[in-house]
């Protein structure tokens, strides 16, 4: 696949993915803990704590309990966090401190293979997190089956989207502290204002409009639809947006990294 002049992604990107998987397997027992515990914390805090104050929320013309409302958002947020943090902090450490990319680029791996492998790994982290969270949420009856089985597929798409933009930031960051900026200006607002913890209709019109630009909005939508087993045409547009977002930022990430690394 020829994406940019002089660059090509080959099947070898899987080697980069496999390298990360090898490292992950060493620490999987620790890596498994956050996605298992995190949803429990949220369920207790929002379900038992905040939920009793909020009562129910309107969704698709029906009143649903607050816990049911936010459970899908927790999965979507985990999908975002896992890929985004993997392809920002973790990729930056491999690139900048460990010089892992430099070593790889002295082998038949191309820069495109390396970056594609990293983003594919970020998406895999999202996939793993979504499956673990589903395992926690399912016993509470918060996921509708068999529709819920499509959530891991969405996790891959969402992981590619958030991993790509994360990698794009990584290509620009002069040092690791500067990641605070995209997190504060991009990730945090998304986390709060993407229809995660309250419906976008509660926002003023202009803010709801801005929220439509957030990729997380378009991930929360389909995940929630799957969890409830109720679909509308909006889901189609959400998916189209996610695909478009990935199609834009994946090549941008590679171009950025090329500018940074190929000297």
């Amino acid at each position: 696949m020829k994406l940019l002049p002089g660059g090509a992604i080959s099947y070898r990107f899987r080697r980069v993915w496999a390298r990360n998987f090898t490292v992950y397997r060493k620490t999987w027992k620790i890596s498994f803990i956050p996605p298992l515990l995190e949803p429990l914390f949220y369920l207790v805090a929002f379900g038992a704590g905040l939920g009793s104050l909020v009562g129910s929320v309107g969704y698709n013309g029906a009143e649903v309990s607050y816990v049911r409302y936010i459970a899908p958002a927790l999965i979507a947020v985990a999908i975002m966090f896992n890929a985004f943090f993997e392809n920002t902090y973790a990729s930056f450490v491999r690139m900048y401190y460990q010089k892992t990319f430099d070593a790889m680029m002295a082998t038949p791996l191309s820069l495109e293979d390396v970056i594609a492998g990293e983003i594919a790994w970020g998406a895999t982290k999202s996939l793993i997190a979504s499956v673990l969270m589903m395992a926690v949420l399912t016993p509470f009856g918060l996921i509708h089956y068999p529709h819920g089985l499509w959530i891991p597929v969405l996790a891959c798409l969402g992981g590619l989207a958030f991993g790509s933009i994360g990698m794009w930031f990584t290509g620009m960051m002069p040092n690791i502290e500067v990641f605070n900026l995209p997190i504060f200006l991009f990730v945090t607002p998304m986390f709060l204002f993407s229809g995660t913890f309250f419906p976008l209709e509660n926002l003023p019109a202009w803010a709801a409009g801005v929220a439509q630009l957030f990729p997380l909005t378009h991930l929360v939508g389909p995940v929630r639809a799957l969890c409830f087993g109720r679909f509308s045409s909006a889901v189609f547009w959400d998916l189209a947006y996610m695909v478009l977002f990935t199609a834009v930022f994946f090549p941008l990430a590679i171009a950025r990294m090329r500018r940074r690394l190929v000297r």
Binding site: S10, R15, K26, Q98, A106, P108, S110
Partner: protein, 306 residues
Amino acid sequence: MNGNGAVVEAVEIFKTFGGLRAVDGVSLRVNRGECFGILGPNGAGKTTTVRMLYGYSPLEGGWLRVFGLDVASRRRSVVNRVGVCQQENNLDPDLTVLENLLVFATYFDISRKQAETRARELLRFMALEHRSDSRVPELSGGMMRRLVLARALINEPDLLILDEPTTGLDPQSRHQVWEKVEELKSRGLTVLLTTHYMEEAARLCDRLVILDQGKILVEGAPAALVREHVGRYVIEVREPDEDLRAYIAGEGFSHEDLGHRLLIYGEEGETNFLKIAEGYRSGGCAMRMAGLEDVFLKLTGRDLRE
């Protein structure tokens, strides 16, 4: 391999960084089975030159072939047969010693079974087999370098590129690396080495170039370069006086005047030394064999490169 036995052929390769001409029309040829050195002060363009050779840095001008293949268009085929020791120890700290070799082997599409055999062999060769399961941060500097070297050999390369392989090592480790490189050389491996250590270049290199500010100053065998540019002997005089300076100028000796030190180069060291020592100096005067360092400093100057 090319019919003419050239592993690397570079003609007028060129690269700039901003306004700086990092590699300014370098031409060189590395023949099969030889150890070729690129010697130069810091910032001379050594690393950029070798990075161009293995396709990491694209050329901006010139013509470059490795194994007779165009590096820009056939990078993967070229790199498949090259082993690279980059200057930094970029070993994978998340993996063990053995895993570093096994994972690296996958980048070359080497089967797991073959990789295991080669990795064990290389660890034995580099005297690291007792550390197979150690994590990289637990290794000493010398061990890390040997592991980088082992990793560069995992694909059984036809060309080994060593970018300052012993910088920062203690003398024991340095000698150990030299011995390993000599052993590889004796097996017929072609080696390209960059260094700013004269001793290293004189010991390992069959031929070398001295690179400064992106340009090649001289090329030749180490001993021949010394004879050609310096001679056999160097007489060093501390605090030379005007009489001596006049005498040197009168005789037309090749020399370098550093103010507090005067270096006189030549073939007939002993006769001159006696004349100088008895006629002009009673002390502070010594004679020694000329070395590569004399050539290096004479050609690249004595200013600090900062």
